[in-house]
Symmetry: C2
Subunit: 451 residues, 2 copies
């Protein structure tokens, strides 16, 4: 039996009906985080443009869009949820494969569940399965798939979206194989889009394509039977090296949700050690822009590869710039959504410090989750900080309270404080909801509120 069929068989017949409580709790944390991110991004220009460009083509408005008053058909709701929840680069990250798995999976699920009766418990289980498949396929093809230039949040997440919706639809084994096949043959998204709106299109399109794959498979639209292991299947075509055994080994024993992390800063995760260290320096020394003469960041090569941008003009570019992250950390002592706006990247103080900051991969002792920061002050003093393991990583996870605070910070950009509190409360007890529409509806702004 090939990997595709083996995986389908487990999804249909092997996966537990009731999630272990530790897994369910991590799934709730992921839901709280991703719904918060969708609210934080709901008024992003990329969302507005998508509504304007494609709105006239929307089908019957049976689904709510997270954080928006507009409604859409489920395919477009999935697309919009995926864009909004990823566009600020504030969503969750799997450090083992750099996939942001919740966006494509949850975006498809909320879109489908908004239009059909689905209990919170069913949704949480489907989410967990979609997350599991996404992360395992990511692990099996990492690093070759990602290094080749694929943005795996889209190009792997599409499988998770299909599997998750497939679980809600109750697809049988054959149809699950087809859903995987039709998802994999729509897998797309390249890293050339980083720093543009195109990046957020990836989880949006993955959510939409995964939903589409599950709906087609449900009705009997056939696909090749070996999308994962076939000689012209997804793994062989998109990764020079891979190990498909890891896709199915120990399914149901170890859960990938336990390897998920939540960002304290809305930007590329490899920037986080530098930002964390710079905020600490700011707080410890009360730094201001004019105090700082020069900054040297010693980082791992991957940081420069992913976030080496130095010529920054718009907020989105700042998210892929470790020097920008360091600059806002040193100057403002924080790196929230407001530090990644167009205004923030052009703030003269931030810009001045950023232009005095260099980043080099010149110290092999600095890990991908570490940093060594040297700051030369105008008064001649020299500050230094070495940090290993940024806030939010697997060893220093955000607490439930910190996740709630992050949710509220974002949600109040579009919701009243009362509404945000209500949505947060529902998200934490999602698996008690008879119909998950209760949560989805709670994210829709009531009345007019300016951002």
């Amino acid at each position: 039996m090939g990997t595709t069929q083996e995986l389908a068989r487990w999804l249909v017949g092997g996966a537990p009906e009731r999630l272990p409580e530790d897994v369910a709790h991590e799934a709730r944390r992921a839901i709280v985080n991703i719904v918060g991110c969708a609210l934080g991004g709901a008024r992003h220009e990329a969302v507005e443009i998508t509504l304007e460009a494609l709105g006239p083509l929307f089908g019957p408005p049976t689904a709510a869009v997270l954080g928006r008053t507009e409604r859409a058909d489920p395919q477009h709701a999935a697309l919009l949820n995926g864009i909004s929840s990823h566009v600020e680069d504030f969503d969750d990250t799997l450090p083992a494969n750099y996939i942001h798995a919740s966006s494509p999976v949850a975006s498809a699920l909320f879109a489908h569940a908004s239009a059909h009766p689905v209990s919170g418990r069913e949704l949480l289980r489907a989410f967990t399965l979609g997350f599991e498949v996404t992360s395992r396929l990511g692990n099996a093809t990492y690093p070759a798939h990602y290094r080749a230039g694929w943005h795996s949040t889209g190009s792997v997440g599409v499988f998770g979206a299909a599997v998750a919706v497939g679980a809600l639809l109750g697809l049988d084994e054959q149809r699950t194989v087809w859903a995987l096949g039709l998802a994999g043959t729509q897998a797309a998204g390249v890293r050339e889009m980083f720093g543009s709106m195109g990046k957020a299109l990836h989880p949006g399109r993955a959510a939409q394509s995964g939903l589409c794959a599950a709906l087609l498979a449900q009705r009997g639209f056939t696909s090749g039977e070996h999308i994962l292991e076939g000689p012209r299947g997804w793994a062989a075509v998109t990764a020079s090296e891979y190990d498909l055994a890891t896709v199915t080994d120990g399914l149901g024993e170890a859960w990938e949700l336990h390897r998920n992390t939540y960002k304290p800063f809305p930007c590329g995760i490899v920037n986080h050690p530098a930002i964390d260290a710079c905020i600490q320096l700011h707080d410890e020394h009360g730094l201001r822009a004019q105090d700082i003469a020069q900054v040297r960041l010693h980082v791992a090569p991957l940081v420069i590869d992913l976030c080496g941008k130095t010529d920054i003009h718009v907020g989105l570019e700042g998210k892929f710039s470790v020097v920008h992250g360091a600059a806002v950390g040193l100057v403002r002592g924080r790196a929230g959504l407001r530090e990644y706006t167009d205004e923030a990247v052009n703030d003269p103080d931030v810009k001045a410090v950023r232009e005095r900051t260099t980043r080099e991969a010149d110290d092999p002792s600095v890990s991908e989750d570490g940093v060594h920061v040297e700051v030369q002050l105008a008064d001649g003093r020299r500050l230094e900080k070495r940090l290993e393991g940024a806030l939010g990583n697997l060893k220093r996870p955000l607490s439930d309270e910190q996740l709630s605070a992050k949710f509220t910070d974002q949600a109040t950009l579009v919701l009243s404080e009362e509404q945000a509190a209500r949505a947060l409360e529902l998200a934490w007890r999602i698996d008690e909801l008879e119909d998950v529409s209760e949560l989805i509806t709670a994210t829709v702004p009531v009345g007019v509120r300016t951002a």
Copy 2:
């Protein structure tokens, strides 16, 4: 200036407003062929399932679907046109890169033009530009892209669909760069789907994604600026070797439409020499199934790679089986749509001869466009045919009359003879039509007619 921008600049400012007549005529031939194919595939199960699965999600029905009475929003009309026009594997082929370029490009154009006023001349020009871009990108990345396992009709065609719709929308240079970017980052489709409905999903999705890319870019949805040449752009990610200089060299001088071919048989084009030779043997010797003891096909390695299937149960599989093609040629003396039905592949006579047929890549003198057939008859006689260059190839192109006959054969599966004749007449003079909707509407069946 990078290839992406250079290409965008030519599309916006360099391409001729009026096509040279020889190019326009070849474009008309391609339109006649692809509309005929869409009619031939309009009632295929893959189309029926898509309508059933996604119909409830369709937006306002502003666009006609070729060959169907149902209407859809343009995105779904593009999807359906792409599926129907490719599902029988009867559409056009570029021998230089094996892309079926008309399906993704024309499917998007007809969908958009059905919902907006577009003259036939504008459509023919946009089609020619989309075709040109598709084929040039195919050439630049062939053979590495295709050999890696990409089904380039989808994974390259998406660019052509975006460019073609972009021409109708009058996108400027910057927005054309974004349309290319947003198209390329949705590029998808793997060859593992061959022999299943998933294959036809590729041009459908490419048409839909290309249209979506153009609509998003029009409104200012940004993408990376270097989708073609960027280190994590489409070419680098999907092809181990490529030459982007060929994308822009001599644009407007030599036209790719002159390198296009039209199939006489609805199956993988590499089968055509064997089918052609076997039909000739049937006609010359009046062969019947019981006369044939053994058949040996000597073919190029690529034929076995693409169409080596021997265990055939459904019609779609037959399209990727050179032994099936040979069997119907020998037994029935023809290989039309009726030779690739589920019934035909299970016809005892065809099956018996197919099972007595072997295919080997054991003669290096046989080219990819040639075949050497040996037939052992039950009466002890031995027949043999060597053929170089099958009917329909660049040296033996189908005539306009043969294209008209192919159109009518397919169109009359869904239209009355009168309606088919009317549609054919309009297709041939498409660039005289004030509004191309006249042609599109003419393909919609009037009244009830069973297939």
